[in-house]
Amino acid sequence: MNAINKEPARHEIEALLPWHAAGTLSRGDADRVKQALAGDRELALRYDLVPEELAETIHLNETLGAPSARAMEKLFAAIDAEEARAPRRRRSFHLARRISELVSSLTPRMLAWSATAAVVAILVQAAVTAAVVVKEQGAPSGPELASAPSAGSFAVVRFAPQATANDITNFLGAYEAKLVGGPLSMGGQLYRIRLSETKLPKDEVGKIVREMQSKSKVVGFIAANE
């Protein structure tokens, strides 16, 4: 290919160089750029200028600082004012979506669908058990009783990143424990589990928790929860 024929192709590739340096090209485009750089010395020389621009753009932006707390205060004051004026209608509770969210946070994305089935089983089990207990006690029924039981012994647990829904189901089954709430915090992904339907002595709860903690494949963190 002579120099004249080469120029339009080079221009097209050259336009992609900033994104190639930033690593945001599609695989196909990135391969095209790599090939062109390997066979075109002039283009490679031009590419050498890009990392410098990229580094200084990042440096420049990083020295811009951050907004003061005033911005956040203003935002939440505005949200409060809006909610006071006209509280928003909550979306209807979407069980499948909620479960999918829960599972997505437990396992890699690829496992989300298969794990959904396992969590459905856990939640249905918890709901049925709670409903039976409530009915037997003659108390008014309500979802808060099923999702937040107060009787028994509890623990909070953060599952290990590599734990799959099957691992978690088997783990809970082995201890006859039930998932009753969570995630309790947005960042930490803590879940509340019921260890026993009756209140156990403190040292016995401690023993179970220590044993559970030793299951490092499934448990990242666990602590007794009153």
Partner: protein, 186 residues
């Protein structure tokens, strides 16, 4: 354990979950602020604008369809707010500001000293780019947005994004040349 995804947070915000809003704010307020402050060149204005951006996120979360990433969606809102704020300023004000930025490249005593530091000169020249060029450069290099995402945020075709980036880099080379740095391109 993965952290909660942006899309999940938006779903919760749509249901009025303030905690999710706080998490999203903590995750992105600095980046959005920096994007806006580079466009409007005024920190107080940028602070006001990011409150408005996140308030729009709160209001519109229920309409987010996931066609783009949450950060791309937020940067598009931020850009719209910044451009509207810039339009409210008088043309005279903008002309003075642009002239000031270019004069800064060669006239102030600090710049003379900084000429020894190539990196500082490049940064100074990056600051001297027009708002139109600055946003493309920042989105591609700092915010790590692909050509498609930049096109969506700025609201222009993908080919225009590439062309605009080319001219932004060309302008940068001219500013660098004026400041004594010859790059041999374009």
């Amino acid at each position: 354990m993965q952290s909660t995804s942006d899309e999940v947070l938006i779903g919760r915000i749509a249901n009025g979950d303030r905690l999710a809003m706080q998490v999203l704010y903590a995750r992105y307020h600095v980046r959005v602020f920096r994007f806006v402050v580079r466009l409007v060149r005024n920190e107080a204005t940028a602070e006001d604008l990011i409150s408005e951006v996140f308030l729009d996120v709160w209001r519109q979360a229920g309409r987010f369809e996931g066609r783009s990433t949450v950060s791309t969606w937020m940067l598009a809102i931020a850009r719209f707010k910044a451009i509207s704020a810039l339009r409210r300023r008088s043309d005279e004000e903008l002309d003075d500001e642009t002239a000031g930025a270019i004069e800064d490249l060669s006239d102030d005593p600090a710049t003379v000293l900084e000429k020894k530091d190539k990196s500082a000169i490049i940064r100074k020249c990056l600051m001297g780019l027009s708002a139109e060029h600055r946003e493309i450069v920042d989105l591609a290099y700092y915010h790590e947005k692909s050509v498609e995402e930049v096109a969506e945020i700025v609201g222009i075709p993908e080919n225009t994004v590439k062309t605009r980036m080319f001219y932004a880099r060309k302008r940068l080379a001219e500013l660098l040349k004026a400041a004594g740095i010859e790059r041999g391109w374009p």
